[in-house]
């Protein structure tokens, strides 16, 4: 028996050694380095790295108005996606009620999530382009020339346009996860409620929503994480412009490091975003709990 245990330990060691070493070097160490670098003035290449205490934190909070503007833009992504979650859930319920073609419609819903995000960001740049853009053309065809705008260069509009591109790309992901959760509800409960005369809305409220509570929590957390990390759509479509009008927290952080070579300050922002994700999620949970208690 003892030899079996030692053989077992050999196997565990052989199996886990490489993955754990890789994880430590490329994930754990960088995460702690971010904390360490956040109290220095490192520029990313020189050997010079001075300890400057919490100066970066002070600068981030009091001397970076564009970072705050960027964070507000993340807020727009967050609320646009949040408003859409109930709609996504209803679409999921609809697609889950098997009807002819529902399988095809499911695949279509998920297609935007699977296709190349950079390619589709360029496609949307053309779609919203002020010259021969398809979106403005739709208004022209409908005789609504008055609605034509410079969608990507109007500081007041650009974030909503980018958020809707983000919706286009990521809604399908939420819907598919909701569908999978709905499918895991035991069929007999749904059938019993049908026999008892419950209509679709009653089933939705009394059975489907409570049964998938965990998944709803997951989606809400995913939304916080996704909205605070919004990056590639503005990066490709507007580079955060005009000015900083469509910058996001992550885009600003990345530019601080790799464009302006201020790795110390950028690390501070990276630390901040980790805390923000946790904080927003906790606040959201508190609000939701107080709501469900009242309901």
């Amino acid at each position: 028996m003892n030899s079996l245990t030692s053989k077992r330990n050999q196997f565990i060691l052989a199996s886990l050694l490489l993955p754990v070493i890789l994880l430590i070097i490329f994930v754990v160490v960088p995460a702690f380095n971010l904390l360490g670098m956040s109290v220095t003035d490192w520029d990313g290449f020189s050997a010079d790295m001075n300890f400057i205490g919490f100066l970066n934190y002070y600068d981030m909070i009091f001397k970076s108005p564009d970072l705050w503007l960027s964070l507000r833009n993340n807020g727009i992504y967050f609320f646009v996606h949040l408003l859409f979650i109930p709609i996504e859930l209803m679409i999921a319920v609809m697609l889950n009620s098997k009807f002819k073609g529902s399988h095809f419609f499911k695949s279509m819903t998920f297609l935007p999530y699977i296709i190349n995000g950079v390619a589709i960001s360029y496609a949307f740049s053309y779609f919203f382009s002020p010259i021969n853009g398809a979106f403005n053309e739709i208004f022209t065809v409908l005789g609504l020339e008055g609605a034509i705008q410079n969608w990507l260069s109007d500081a007041g509009l650009v974030n909503y346009v980018l958020s809707s591109v983000s919706l286009w790309r990521f809604s399908g992901y939420h819907i598919i996860i909701f569908i999978a959760a709905l499918q895991s509800i035991p069929q007999d409960i749904m059938e019993a409620s049908t026999v008892d005369g419950a209509n679709a809305w009653q089933k939705f409220k009394a059975i489907q929503i409570p049964s998938i509570q965990l998944v709803i929590d997951f989606i809400l957390f995913d939304n916080v994480r996704g909205a605070l990390q919004a990056f590639d759509i503005p990066f490709v479509m507007t580079s955060g412009g005009p000015g900083y009008a469509s910058s996001t927290f992550t885009l600003y952080t990345i530019n601080t490091a790799f464009k302006f070579n201020n790795f110390g300050l950028a690390s501070t922002m990276a630390v901040a975003i980790m805390f923000l994700i946790i904080a927003v999620h906790l606040i959201q949970n508190l609000i939701l709990k107080s709501f469900s208690r009242k309901g």
């Binding site: 053989k7 050999q10 196997f11 565990i12 199996s15 993955p19 754990v20 890789l22 994880l23 070097i25 490329f26 994930v27 754990v28 160490v29 960088p30 995460a31 971010l34 670098m37 990313g44 609809m94 009620s97 009807f99 529902s102 419609f105 279509m108 297609l111 699977i114 296709i115 190349n116 995000g117 950079v118 589709i120 360029y122 496609a123 053309y126 382009s129 021969n132 398809a134 286009w168 399908g172 598919i176 996860i177 999978a180 959760a181 998944v215 997951f218 605070l228 990390q229 990056f231 590639d232 490709v236 952080t253 490091a257 790799f258 790795f263 950028a266 990276a270 975003i273 980790m274 994700i277």
Partner: protein, 286 residues
């Protein structure tokens, strides 16, 4: 019970069905609309881009394949295909190999430091992706991996950890008695894993290969950051370079977009069953 009620129930169902199809068709239009606009543009000449509606194909006689010829004639496209393929092949191979043994050990055995190792993997999944590169950059550089295909490969292998999560759920479904009887028969742990456990994980492996391939082909940030070298473009960073060079020539860029979209769309059409299963497995069973 009266015929009146049955009728209204029937009408309700019909109205419900009509609504379902209207909404579903609306979704299809929203999804395909922007893609079709690009497809149409890719067949237009420069002049047609101005004169024809962006919402329509050009007249059949005016359709041109010139844009595609230009993109396909670009030498960098071939190396971009090769690089993307190579990165996917190596990264996914190690993701599957290391992910499956790690998940098996963490799910099946109790051992020293298990809790710490487990916590590290959980932490790895929680850390925000883009901003971590600020600290990872120095490590990649000091290992001499900057501007090599090794940089994205090692990052995908080390830090993209969803495979452990998915494999664990599949391992949990395999009865432990199977392991025990094989061991009693004198089977070594390595053979047990390679010949009994790993084959039973095949559905998870299929899902992971597909999802990982798509994610890696589509990734923009890591190749952009670590491989500025012209010879090291992936499909996605090739498109970014191409877009930069084609300022305003949307018909040509559209052809490039279509070409870059094709591989993942093909993968999706042929393997969507695995993709949908894997995505849901990752989220549903907490």
């Amino acid at each position: 019970m009266t015929p009146n009620i049955t009728l209204s129930y029937k009408t309700k169902r019909i109205i419900g069905n009509i609504l379902k199809y209207l909404i579903s068709i609306g979704i299809v239009c929203l999804v395909l609309g922007p893609i079709l606009v690009i497809l149409f543009a890719s067949f237009k000449t420069k002049g047609d881009m101005v004169t024809s509606s962006p919402l329509l194909l050009p007249a059949l006689s005016k359709i041109t394949f010139d844009n595609y010829e230009r993109v396909l004639g670009n030498k960098m496209l071939v190396s971009a295909f090769k690089n993307s393929f190579f990165i996917v092949l190596i990264s996914v191979f190690f993701n599957v190999l290391l992910g499956s043994v790690t998940a098996y050990c963490l799910e099946r055995f109790d051992f020293k430091f298990k809790k710490i190792i487990f916590a590290l993997f959980i932490m790895g999944m929680m850390i925000p992706t883009f901003v971590t590169e600020i600290a990872r950059f120095k490590i990649i550089q000091s290992l001499g991996l900057y501007n090599t295909l090794g940089a994205p490969i090692i990052i995908y292998i080390a830090s993209d950890l969803m495979q452990i999560y998915i494999y664990r759920q599949f391992v949990a479904k395999i009865p432990a008695s199977l392991d025990e009887s094989a061991l009693v028969d004198g089977c070594s742990y390595f053979r047990l894993f390679a010949q009994i456990i790993f084959p039973l994980l095949a559905p998870a492996t299929a899902t992971l290969i597909i999802i990982k391939s798509v994610t890696i082909i589509n990734d923009m940030y890591i190749p952009y950051l670590y491989m500025p070298n012209n010879k090291l473009k992936t499909l996605t960073t090739f498109l970014m370079d191409f877009a930069g060079a084609q300022q305003g020539s949307w018909q040509r860029l559209s052809a490039a977009i279509v070409i870059v979209l094709i591989p993942t769309v093909l993968i999706y059409i042929f393997f969507q069953k695995y993709i949908l299963e894997g995505i849901s497995a990752g989220a549903v069973k907490e």
